[in-house]
């Protein structure tokens, strides 16, 4: 089936806001979300009264969390979406908001994320396994698969199949830190070298400490509306040209660990947009680990499988390079409260509006956004957006 291209160019991201905090022991997650809502609505000149679609997810949010959030915000939306597919959820929420607005089921969608993972001392990456909670988990939890461990399985295989090196993975970490040093709100800003990465302790071979994302507190908000409505609002609109989402898992047969959800979601998003990879001026991609960014760039189609190592060398993915990636410093150095998909969208929108003085991709017209949800190496999700300046 060829997916519809109908909504391409018709829906816009009108307001965005990334909470400046990276450490907020004095805030609740709901509070962070409300502060972000205020920020994104102020950004586009709308108010909570204008919002009739609500989208949210969070690690501490229960299955009906979006209902409780509606109460906290005193909202009565016509469209509700609490899809939680991991860190990509908010990118998928943009897809869903676009579809809902295009179908006339709501006019203004508000997407929210807030987390105090750092001040709650959540060992997101390195504390898993043991007693199984359910039958399905029983095939994994006896073996103590940590988040870092599962990504390390992918990295190890990539090195085996393609000769990718730790130095090439380290390039990504070094680039993200360089970008973060230009971002006043980033958590880790002191530049690092390849040697620093390689000398940092091995958490799960072959991934070192500096191959792994930080843990922060934080939050963000997005306001999605029709392109028409966005034209009258405070900031230049950013149009959704294409969107797609996908699930990738340990399918029957001999699953290829190095094909990830991004391949399918990106093919769908690019097809919808009618654009090619060459049209993209910058990428914001989930970088829970260096390997995440590398295999994502391959699966998004910016280079062939196996070429990711060479692709990230020589400054190509740095500001000033041919395809800047995560100019904000990403999850590796700027912000990662457990689920970072919303920040991918925020940074892409701000870059396309030329609002990122000091780390601006000059002349950015088109961005590719890709969020990974869950953990590579096991069942995971992906969601891709192609965004353009209006």
């Amino acid at each position: 089936m060829t997916l519809s291209r109908d909504l391409s160019g018709k829906i816009a991201l009108a307001g965005v806001y990334e909470h400046p905090t990276r450490w907020a022991p004095d805030k609740t997650e709901s509070q962070i979300m409300a502060e972000c809502a205020r920020g994104a609505l102020d950004d586009c000149g709308l108010s909570l009264d204008d919002v009739d679609g609500l989208f949210s997810a969070g690690m501490a949010m229960g299955p009906m969390g979006v209902v409780s959030l509606a109460e906290y915000l005193d909202l009565k939306p016509n469209y509700i979406d609490g899809t939680n597919i991991g860190g990509s959820s908010f990118v998928a929420h943009v897809n869903h908001a676009a579809a809902a607005i295009h179908a006339g089921l709501c006019e203004v969608g508000l997407i929210l994320y807030g987390s105090t993972a750092a001040s709650n001392a959540l060992a997101i990456g390195t504390g898993m396994g043991g007693a199984a909670r359910d039958a399905a988990g029983s095939f994994v939890s006896p073996y103590g698969m940590t988040t870092v461990g599962s990504y390390a399985l992918v990295a190890q295989r990539h090195m085996h199949e393609y000769g990718t090196t730790s130095e090439q993975l380290a390039e990504i970490a070094v680039t993200m830190r360089r970008h973060a040093s230009l971002n006043p709100h980033a958590k880790m800003r002191k530049p690092i070298t390849i040697d620093d990465v390689l000398e940092s302790r091995v958490i799960s071979d072959p991934l070192h400490l500096l191959d792994c994302c930080i843990i922060s507190d934080g939050g963000g908000a997005l306001v999605v509306t029709s392109a028409e409505r966005a034209r009258d609002l405070a900031k230049p609109a950013v149009l959704i040209q294409g969107c797609g989402e996908a699930v990738c898992h340990r399918e029957i047969g001999s699953p290829d660990l190095l094909t990830i959800a991004a391949r399918q979601s990106a093919d769908n998003a690019f097809a919808m947009s009618g654009m090619s990879r060459d049209d993209i001026d910058l990428c914001t991609v989930y970088d829970s680990f260096t390997i995440t960014a590398l295999v994502t760039l391959e699966n998004l189609g910016f280079c062939k499988p196996g070429e990711g190592g060479a692709f990230v060398e020589g400054g190509r993915i740095g500001l000033g390079g041919a395809l800047p990636v995560n100019p904000d410093g990403g999850g590796l150095s700027s912000n990662h409260p457990g689920m970072r998909g919303i920040f991918l969208v925020i940074e892409a929108v701000r870059q396309l509006r030329a609002e990122c003085a000091g780390r601006q991709v000059e002349g950015a017209q088109v961005a590719c956004v890709h969020g990974t949800g869950g953990t590579l190496g096991v069942a995971h999700s992906g969601a891709t957006l192609i965004l353009s300046k209006a």
Binding site: D134, S141, P142, L153, D205
Partner: protein, 148 residues
């Protein structure tokens, strides 16, 4: 020197009890669909390829090779804190499926992708009441692999 891992009991349900009871007999039990011949893991009550309910179980050879692995040096949960470093791996069985597991019986640094391995089983303590509550009538064991 890493401490021996103390494996936790799995939770079995109708779909997976044949696998875990097989482990208790030190047999690696896989499923094959009688209608489309697909061999599947993890176990299900239906064939994920064709949705047939005609699932038969068979005992696998227990042989496979390392598809990928990692040496985990840090895991903060009590069950694994002292077991580090341990080798987490996907082993691809001769019969096709890949399963997540541990590789033991050699220096972690000697584990290689492609290395032939064979299954072994770590018996878990029997606790009839707890086993029954978790859907397992017989004792069970946790499968892992060592160099063949």
């Amino acid at each position: 020197m890493a401490a021996e891992i103390s494996y936790s009991k799995p939770v079995a349900d109708w779909e997976t009890r044949a696998f875990w009871e097989g482990c208790g007999r030190h047999e690696l039990v896989l499923q094959r669909c009688r209608d489309c011949q697909t061999v599947q893991f993890r176990p299900r009550a239906i064939c994920a390829k064709c949705l047939s309910s005609e699932i038969e179980h068979f005992v696998a050879s227990g042989r496979g090779s390392v598809y990928t692995f990692t040496i985990t040096h840090q895991n903060n949960v009590p069950a694994f804190r002292d077991a580090c470093p341990y080798v987490l791996a996907y082993v691809e069985l001769e019969e096709g499926p890949q399963l997540m597991t541990h590789v033991v019986g050699c220096d972690p640094q000697d584990v290689k992708i492609g290395m032939p391995v064979r299954v072994e089983f770590v018996d878990l303590e029997r606790d009839p009441a707890r086993d029954a509550a978790r859907g397992i009538d017989a004792g069970t064991a946790i499968p892992r692999f060592r160099p063949a």
